[in-house]
Symmetry: D2
Subunit: 345 residues, 4 copies
């Protein structure tokens, strides 16, 4: 009963997936991962029917358990998605909730010697695992991926890298145009590190792990930028390279490795442009007051995929009134749109 809980029209199945590629990851994080598979209303009625699948990624610091978090007056996305299906607003589809959390807050859905092989986990383990166990339409034209913030980032880059797996995607305020989204924070983060830890990220990590986490205001930014660095600019031996020096100036060698992960940069490369042109549907949105300027990132990504030759009719683009927060009501809109597009509408 609302607001406390709700009954699902479909079924949300919870599993643990024992990963091979995450075993022995550099952070010592679990290689057994929760995974949720949502089956839409009617899934059990016709044993011969197969369904498209949408994979859902989370933002930085998110883990699977947080999809249940309830906020005042609103429902969590899995409930909104279920209600959307119950109302018949989209063709039925399977929704897979993927966990790519790390003890630094996230993985950015890439393979990195700093965090682990989360791209491989998603593409080479999760997708086959789902296709084996559920009646999916197991081809790229019926497989989409979506997410918000870092999850939107993952939803942009994964199909660019693996167009044979994903044929559509949606990004809500996804990390893009790193020059505008990330770099402006460097001096702020550098000053925190300098003032509070003498510039030593090692000292920060030791302190962070020794006390109530997130009890200092600097915890969030320091962890976030260390975590991004672990994903984007770790050395082969796992050494994490920050993209700024002690005074906040860009360190070009590390920054270039970040930029190589920027969806706006990636989309300008021929093989990624090929992948993007092959997409059946691309949803891009962001709040016009996004605190991280991801509205600018969304516009830049929109521009670069146009330059890459993506046909306008395959793209949905919107800057809605809002910030980076409390925009989960956008997710079902994109979910329905992706499913309609994959159904050929």
């Amino acid at each position: 009963m609302l607001p406390w809980s709700t009954e699902f029209a479909g079924v949300l199945e919870e599993h643990d997936l024992t990963s091979t590629v995450l075993r022995g990851n550099p952070l010592g994080d679990p290689h057994v991962r929760p995974i949720w598979v949502y089956l839409p209303p009617g899934y059990g009625d016709d044993p011969g029917r197969r369904y498209p699948v949408v994979y859902v990624l989370q933002g930085y610091t998110g883990h699977l358990g947080m999809w249940r978090n309830r906020t005042p007056f609103r429902q969590p996305f899995p409930e909104l998605a279920d209600a959307m299906f119950a109302r018949g607003e989209a063709p039925p589809g399977i929704v897979v909730y993927v966990d790519a959390w790390t003890s630094l807050g996230g993985s950015q859905f890439v393979d990195s010697p700093g965090t682990g092989n989360y791209h491989s986990y998603l593409c080479d383990e999760v997708v086959p695992w789902v296709d084996e166990r559920y009646r999916t339409l197991a081809d790229r034209d019926h497989r989409a991926i979506t997410g918000k913030s870092s999850g939107g980032y993952g939803a942009m880059i994964t199909p660019m890298r693996r167009p044979e797996l994903f044929g559509a995607f949606a990004t809500h305020a996804g990390d893009a145009l790193f020059d505008a989204a990330y770099r402006p924070e460097f001096p702020m983060v550098a000053r925190l590190l300098l003032d509070e830890y003498g510039g030593s990220v090692t000292d920060f990590l030791a302190d962070f792990r020794s006390r109530i986490p997130m009890s200092r205001e600097s915890d969030g930014p320091l962890l976030e930028f260390y975590g991004y660095s672990a994903a984007y600019s770790a050395d082969p031996d796992g050494t994490v390279r920050l993209p700024f020096d002690e005074f906040g100036a860009t360190v070009p060698a590390a920054w270039e490795r970040w930029l190589a992960h920027d969806p706006v940069v990636m989309a300008g490369q021929p093989h990624h442009a090929d992948a993007l042109r092959s997409m059946r549907a691309i949803w891009i949105d962001a709040g016009n007051r996004d605190q991280y300027y991801l509205d600018l990132g969304a516009q830049a990504f929109r521009r670069v995929i146009a330059a890459a030759g993506v046909a306008d009719e395959r793209v949905y683009f919107e800057l809605f009134d809002g910030t980076h927060r409390a925009i989960e009501y956008r997710y079902p809109l994109a979910l329905a749109w992706l499913l309609r597009r994959m159904a050929g509408d």
Copy 2:
């Protein structure tokens, strides 16, 4: 497995309680309410043993389902409390999670013609219900109440009104010294109402209920102050009286009804002072940078209970470094202390 979930050492039992006093409440909110009862490790081992009980209240906009909410790097309070018992840091006790949510966000744990009889629900229905079903030490000396913010408010006023039921309490940043905590917001709220709804709270409510709730920045403050008014200054016929006029000036008639609910004012009244002196244990804390100046409220409440004759040795007082947010790690400290005090330590 952390961070996704954890195994409890004790048992968390979930029930629905069908209330009589909430039936037909003015907001049309459910009168069947969830209630959780946590049984500590060992509860099942000795069928003859009885346990003290601590009732736990939530802050404004909180409802029972939100106790499961997970934040990055931390555990929800029910898990922290369980772990505290598992470590043996306090004598075992039963912990009851009470729901007093309303569709305005909360009830302030009072009986009001604007919201419903939540004080009666708590005292006359929940407490007996628990005592009937569990092996409680069913007397006021073994019954405590605790909460944060509006929950801390409820934890202060309920024992003052019903000392025969509660013999100890804890308040974390509880609403107190309304003059400092609430009144400074009046002009801000009044201007929002004036600018966005022409000063009409009816128009606000109609708008709020017609769209995605909490999607406008004014939603939070407007709903909060309307909700407080519904709790503190509704007329017998249910008409809600705001304590400020269209330009933000105090409306004395309504404001006096608010003040009559202020723990600092209440504690100065003889019968409440009697009640407070009868308490075996009172825990008061707040963050020294509390956004709502509830550190000042905590200090004012500490002063007034001293003036009421409460012995210092029964009081724990602390201003800790922190704000109003992310302070759930404080709750187990007070829970353990209350249980130790009720056990005679």
Copy 3:
């Protein structure tokens, strides 16, 4: 030459006025005061012509020397006023720049045992001094007063108290509706005082006077509220009573003395209502985003003078787009309007 300076079309005469009523003031501030008298273009041409006079008051912390302050891309008000006359946008008038600064930042233009007799200085010394030395139309129908912020406050209350002297006034974001403008700051100020000076305003003052003033963020608010208290709620022996206690709660005895100075309260009293009805012209404006909610004060004052029976055609009211800052471009508009109204336009 702009932007550095400008040539006046009229003449700005600078004098020192030796006050009797300020001699021996409680703060030991100078009783010899600068005063500036601006004579419009043409003043020297016709020795028989007499002119209306507008007295100009400054906001809190302002002193006469600050009228010369230049900001990027704008001119100071005395230059704007001169240019306005030069363009012939208003009938020529004499403009008198009054200084009522104190070492606490200001006087609120009242007589107080905490600061000095600034109301008497203005009304009983400055006005006659000007009328003696210049060709004024020396009657209340040709004497107006204007100001911003605390200066707007002075411009509201002085004609209410001395309608035989002033027959018109203008207030730009003048202090009004103290409940909305001042009281919300009490907890913030109280916490600063408690955290930084153990609650002792004496310690604050000693510290403030011992070092670079205004080098701590708390200096501004602490000095401001101490200064207002010195103006509004000093005892006959000069003891300054703050209107809030150490935890930020209102102290009714002192607060009532503040309220007795609130233009909105004053305007509701019969003799002040009489005075207001006698005004030939009243200009009220404020920025719609005023940080101190003086837009709400302006609206409340507008409402109360209507209730007092002031005819609508004598009032100009506007909430313009803006904040409390950088609104000096509004002053010439009111100055011109007052002069036109006094001329019978």
Copy 4:
């Protein structure tokens, strides 16, 4: 009399200097410029004595007339400097107040086809003009330069470029480490431009010039970054190139021209390092909470001049408690130190 004004112990002489190099400047700004020359107490007593000279530059949007601006409870720098001399805290020196204002707010003290030849004006016109008219010690070992913010920037770069003219300098929170000081603002500025002017800086300028300037919140940042671009990255024909595109991403071609002006970059170049090593005294300070991260810039500049081989004993470095605002009380400290150092102390 304070606070209104003060008597100087020395003499402040005001002149106009008719520039040749500023004639016909691209912004159409005046080529006749005010210049103030302060002569210390005793200057008139000994007609044979010659004095060291310190040139003083202003921050962005500053012009000469603003040195008179009075703030509550403090004195303007020219008065503080005079008082410092009167107290005998430094060997007497001549202080020259230079104006390099432009109608975009400033010139950054460089020669640019976007603004004019302000470097040449300072070095080739002002300095000789002063040496001709006053009893200066007319050599680089007795000529220093100082300033705050953009003025501190000018004080860093001018001696690097013209070590034959200046042998000492002081920078208070001078613009340095552009990567940390300027670049983080690009997305914010770009979004303002996009949201309010469709990305057209021409539209912004036309609008800005058509109404009350600085009456929109975006005016400051837009004008500032346009003005910096006019100084750092204008084409030979005067076309101003912004260093960011419509979405806030860095435009490398323009940004490299900015970086070529960064004191931290410049100091790493051999001829500038030579110049720096020749300095007799270098004062660097900044507030530790500088809003523009100029504390980081100060530290980076300190590090790079050490790397350039500047001897530690010639450098004074301090991060003081403060922000970017209200730090004019620092200026006399550096002024005195420079004069003592130039006197061989």
